[in-house]
């Protein structure tokens, strides 16, 4: 049975996509897991980090992205097929990774997001396409060991579709003042959603990303996450920390030639941290 994890934060630019992609790669290549990445973010960043953008464009123009799923909800049509939309063996590592698949997003989601929101009841969740993704995927999820959802920086209908199939969620944060403010509303709203839809959605933990170890602010914020905030019923903060790194930034380029994860993420620091993060993720998910 697949373990489904949403990677979520209300704040943008905190490393959601970076962490989703790193976990996907390390789970598939270092742990032999079958992984499906679902890119729910209309910015489509995870998608174009895993497949060439022109290839994505062709798929988008022929209704083979998540845009079609939500368009169907508005039009009452049934043109979306998860089977046809999933892209197999994605990534630039070795020309494609066995067991790493992608359900691509679309920039076009931006055009219909508001209309989807208007037909949704955010208090009881009894009206609106909250379960469209769950219904479209059906038993297909069972083919995977892990499903990772890269969520947009909001708790709108698209994100709720991700939560509606999730066993757990992970919160990436930059250890600075503003990123911390986004955590309590996530905990609150996810709990509300879980109660209303009678699901158990576990807060797996907080992952510190884009850490600048030489700054006092970042170190102090990590300490607060591990001590002060934990006492205020925050989820645990992972021991592994994703550093700010040129190698990690460059890893987003799917057109670069690489054969190994060490080449993709750079030998030493970033590679070691991301490898450790994945082991820690698996350990928490197994509890």
């Amino acid at each position: 049975m697949a373990y489904v994890t949403s990677i979520i934060n209300l704040k943008g630019g905190v490393g959601k996509t970076t962490i989703t992609l790193a976990l996907a790669h390390f789970l598939a290549l270092e742990h032999g897991k079958r992984v499906l990445v679902i890119d729910l973010d209309p910015q489509t960043n995870a998608t174009v980090c895993l497949m060439p953008e022109m290839e994505w464009k062709k798929r988008d123009e022929t209704g083979r992205t998540l845009f079609q799923l939500f368009l169907d909800q508005l039009k009452g049509t049934e043109n979306f097929s998860a089977e046809d939309t999933i892209v197999r063996r994605v990534s630039n590592v070795g020309g494609g990774v066995d067991g790493l698949d992608l359900l691509p997003s679309s920039l076009q989601l931006i055009k219909i997001q508001e209309r989807i929101t208007q037909i949704t009841d955010f208090e009881s969740y009894r009206r609106g396409p909250i379960f469209a993704l769950r219904d479209a995927l059906g038993s297909l999820v069972k083919r995977y060991d892990h499903v990772l959802l890269d969520c947009p920086p909001s708790l709108g209908v698209v994100t709720l579709n991700g939560l509606a199939i999730s066993n757990a969620y992970l919160i990436p944060v930059i250890p600075d003042t503003l990123s911390m403010l986004g955590i309590p509303p996530i905990l609150d709203r996810v709990e509300h959603f879980a109660q209303c839809t009678r699901r158990n959605i576990r807060a797996l933990g907080i992952v510190v990303s884009m850490m600048r170890a030489q700054t006092i602010l970042h170190n102090e914020m990590v300490r607060r996450l591990r001590e002060d905030f934990y006492e205020r019923r925050f989820p645990i903060c992972f021991e592994s920390i994703v550093p700010e790194s040129t190698h990690i930034a460059e890893a987003a380029d799917v057109m670069t030639r690489v054969n190994t994860l060490q080449q993709k993420y750079g030998n030493g620091g970033p590679y070691e941290e991301l490898s450790a993060l994945t082991k820690e993720f698996l350990s928490h998910a197994a509890r």
Binding site: E53, M54, S245, E250, M255, T256, R257
Partner: protein, 149 residues
């Protein structure tokens, strides 16, 4: 000289050495951090920074393909992006074909066309030319798919 404002984000008991630095010194610290970060990302930069500077007595680097022992070229002899824009893919191929291996590798390094350094041990110029053309084309076209939604 004006003194920098004292830092207030140091924890009790933590060294506050940077708080007494001048604004110029703080700027230097930031610059050195940026340089360190670049060296971390590109080990070849460290080699270049530590190598003996070229003097006028040494032969100038043209990058033209000539027989002789292998040498290291630091300055890229051409900008592949400018050539591709101006002369197209065929023009870039032709321009690159006139260069020797060290010159081709200098282009790869200077424009960071192979961050994973998988081409570091390649010795066939055609392979390097293929890499340069492929990566230059990919970067010039980067984001085209996003232009019209």
């Amino acid at each position: 000289m004006p003194r920098a404002k004292r830092s207030t984000d140091a924890s009790p008991g933590e060294p506050t050495g940077s708080a007494s630095l001048t604004a110029e010194a703080l700027a230097l610290v930031e610059t050195l951090r940026a340089v360190a970060s670049q060296i971390d990302a590109d080990p070849a930069l460290a080699t270049r920074l530590m190598s003996k500077p070229t003097t006028k007595a040494e032969p100038s680097v043209t990058g033209q393909a000539t027989p002789g022992p292998a040498r290291t070229v630091s300055a890229p002899p051409l900008d592949p992006f400018a050539v591709l824009r101006r002369s197209g893919e065929q023009g870039l191929q032709e321009a690159l074909a006139t260069l020797d291996l060290p010159a081709l590798k200098a282009i790869v390094r200077a424009y960071r066309l192979d961050p994973a350094r998988i081409a570091a041990r390649w010795t066939a110029p055609e392979r390097i030319i293929g890499l340069i053309v492929e990566q230059t084309r990919a970067r010039l076209n980067h984001g085209r798919a996003f232009e019209r939604v």
